[in-house]
C-alpha cells in the first residue's frame, strides 16, 4: 500500500473533487494526508482527516471578469499562495514521505516541492482554466502566465534548464473534466480524464424534501460572490421564475436576505445537499463552475449557464457545444431573457438528450475509483480491485488514521 499527500488550495470547489479521490485511495487501503489551510479543509473533510496545515492568509477579493479575472487569479492568488505555502508543503512532504504528491493544478507549490525533493507527483485538474488550451489563441497571455510560473520555479531554487510546467505533471494528470467538458484533444498519454470524482461530504445541510412536488424542479446556483452584479442577476432570476408557479418549483442557493420577497414556489437556502438534490431537478441555472456543471450533467440534468469568470465561460461554451444547455449573459440578462432560456431548456427535448449523452460519457470515465487506480499504479502498487462500499471503508480508514 502507498502513501499519498494531497496539496489543495483553500477552495471548496477544488477540495471536494480531491476528497473523492482521497476516499477512493483510503478505500483501497492506501494512506492519505492533506496539505492546505486547515481552517478551510477541516469543515470540508471532517475530524478524521490528517491535515498538515499551511496556515491561511487573507486573499484579496476578486470581482473582475474576463481577462482581468485571469490576471487577478494569477497575481493575487495562485502566485502569492504558492510562495506563501511552499515552506509548509515542503515540511509536510519531508515528514509524511509520500510515494506520490497529488497536486491541485493551481497549487504550484506542490509541484515545486516534488521537483526539489525528487518526488513523483500527479496533477489534479479541478478547473478547465488550463485544460484543453482555452487560451492558446492568445500567445501573449499564455506567455504572461508562463513568466509567472518560471518566476516561481526560479524562486524555489530550481534550475531553469530543468523547467517543468507546474500545472502539468510529467507522470500523471488526472482531470475531473471529461468528455466534451475537457475540451478539444488529443491529450497526452499520461492524461487520465476520469471525470467528476465525487466523494463523501460530511455535514450536509437538511432540505425540506416534501416541499418538492410533481412540478419541474429548477435549481439556481450562482456561487458565493456577493457583489452588486450577482445581486442584480439573482433579482432577475427570481423575476424570471415568478410567473412559472404552475409548472416549476425552484430552489435558489443564496442567503434569503440577499433576495427580493419570494413567491411560494421559490425557496431560498444558504446551502443545499447538492448531490441529493440534483437528481430531482429538471434544469439548473448556474454560473458554470466545473463541479456544478459536472454534477448536474452526471445525472443528465440540462443547464442554463451564466458564466462570470475564470473557467466558467469555457465550461459554458463546452456545455453549449455538447448540446446540453444554453448560455446567457451574466452581467446583463433580464428576467424575460432568463425565463425564455429556462423554459426553453425545460420544454425542448434536445438539451435533455444532450445532457443524457454527457451523463453516459461521464459514467464511462471512471471517476474517483479510476483516479485511485491510476495513482496506485503510479506509486508502484498493484492496481487494487474497486471496493464494493467505498464510503463505509473510507470512513473506517479515516477514523483509524485519526
Amino acid at each position: 500500500m502507498s502513501r499519498f499527500l494531497l496539496v489543495v488550495p483553500p477552495l471548496a470547489g477544488h477540495v471536494n473533487p480531491a476528497q473523492g479521490i482521497a476516499d477512493a485511495l483510503l478505500a483501497a487501503g492506501h494512506e492519505v494526508a492533506w496539505c492546505g489551510s486547515e481552517a478551510v479543509l477541516r469543515p470540508l473533510l471532517g475530524a478524521g482527516a490528517v491535515v498538515f496545515p499551511t496556515g491561511s492568509r487573507l486573499l484579496r477579493p476578486q470581482s473582475d471578469h474576463g481577462l482581468a479575472a485571469v490576471k487577478s487569479v494569477w497575481e493575487r492568488f495562485i502566485v502569492p499562495f504558492a510562495t506563501f505555502t511552499l515552506p509548509a508543503v515542503e515540511r509536510a512532504a519531508r515528514e509524511f514521505r509520500p510515494d506520490v504528491l497529488v497536486v491541485d493544478q493551481h497549487c504550484p507549490a506542490g509541484a515545486l516541492v516534488a521537483h526539489r525533493l525528487g518526488l513523483t507527483w500527479a496533477t489534479v485538474v479541478a478547473s478547465t482554466m488550463d485544460l484543453g488550451h482555452p487560451l492558446s489563441a492568445m500567445p501573449q497571455v499564455t506567455a504572461w502566465i508562463e513568466e509567472r510560473l518560471r518566476g516561481l520555479w526560479a524562486k524555489a531554487g530550481l534550475p531553469a534548464h530543468a523547467y517543468t510546467d507546474p500545472r502539468f505533471s510529467p507522470h500523471l494528470v488526472l482531470s475531473c473534466a471529461a468528455g466534451p467538458l475537457a475540451g478539444p484533444g488529443p491529450f497526452p498519454d499520461h492524461f487520465a480524464l476520469v471525470g467528476p470524482t465525487v466523494g463523501t461530504r460530511p455535514d450536509q445541510p437538511d432540505f425540506p424534501w416534501e416541499w418538492l412536488d410533481g412540478r419541474a424542479g429548477v435549481l439556481v446556483s450562482m456561487g458565493t460572490l456577493a457583489d452588486d452584479i450577482t445581486a442584480r442577476f439573482l433579482r432577475e432570476a427570481v423575476a424570471a421564475l415568478a410567473p412559472l408557479g404552475e409548472r416549476v418549483r425552484a430552489v435558489v442557493v443564496a442567503p434569503p436576505e440577499a433576495l427580493p420577497p419570494l413567491p411560494a414556489h421559490v425557496l431560498a437556502r444558504r446551502r443545499v445537499p447538492m448531490l441529493d438534490l440534483l437528481p430531482r431537478m429538471s434544469a439548473v441555472l448556474t454560473h458554470g463552475g466545473l463541479n456544478t456543471v459536472s454534477e448536474a450533467l452526471a445525472v443528465g440534468v440540462p443547464l442554463v449557464v451564466a458564466p462570470i469568470r475564470h473557467d466558467q465561460p469555457i465550461n459554458a461554451a463546452r456545455v453549449v457545444g455538447a448540446g446540453a444547455g444554453v448560455r446567457v449573459n451574466f452581467a446583463r440578462s433580464t428576467a424575460p431573457v432568463l425565463r425564455a432560456a429556462l423554459t426553453g431548456v425545460l420544454d425542448d427535448p434536445a438539451p435533455r438528450a444532450g445532457a443524457a449523452a454527457v451523463r453516459d460519457t461521464l459514467a464511462a470515465a471512471g471517476g474517483a475509483p479510476a483516479a485511485a487506480r491510476h495513482l496506485a499504479a503510479l506509486a508502484g502498487a498493484a492496481a487494487p480491485e474497486p471496493p464494493p462500499e467505498p464510503t463505509e471503508q473510507a470512513a473506517a480508514c479515516r477514523s483509524r488514521s485519526a
Partner: protein, 89 residues
C-alpha cells in the same frame, strides 16, 4: 454618420442584446471592464463589423494577438482604430 459613432452604435446594440437598455457609449469605454463583454459579445460585434466593413475586419484575431493588459483595457476607440486600419489596408 462618422465611423466612430456607427461603431459605438454597434457596440451598444450588442450590449443591449440581453434585454437591458444601455446608455450612449463613449470612445473611452472599455469592452471588458465597462461593458462586460465576453467572447460571445465579441463574436456578435465581429459579425456586425464584418457585415458593414467587409471580411477584412477580424476583431477577435486582433484582440487575441494583444498583450494581457491591452485586452483588459481595449476601448471602443481601439475597435474604431482597428476597423479603420483594416479598411484602409
Amino acid at each position: 454618420m462618422c465611423i466612430s459613432h456607427e461603431i459605438a452604435g454597434m457596440v451598444r446594440q450588442v450590449a443591449q442584446s440581453c434585454g437591458g437598455q444601455v446608455p450612449e457609449i463613449g470612445p473611452n469605454a472599455t469592452l471588458e471592464g465597462d461593458l462586460r463583454f465576453d467572447s460571445v459579445d465579441l463574436a456578435a460585434l465581429q459579425a456586425a463589423l464584418a457585415r458593414r466593413f467587409g471580411p477584412g475586419v477580424d476583431l477577435p484575431a486582433h484582440v487575441n494577438s494583444l498583450p494581457l493588459e491591452a485586452i483588459i483595457g481595449l476601448t471602443v476607440a481601439d475597435v474604431v482604430d482597428h476597423v479603420r486600419a483594416a479598411v484602409a489596408g
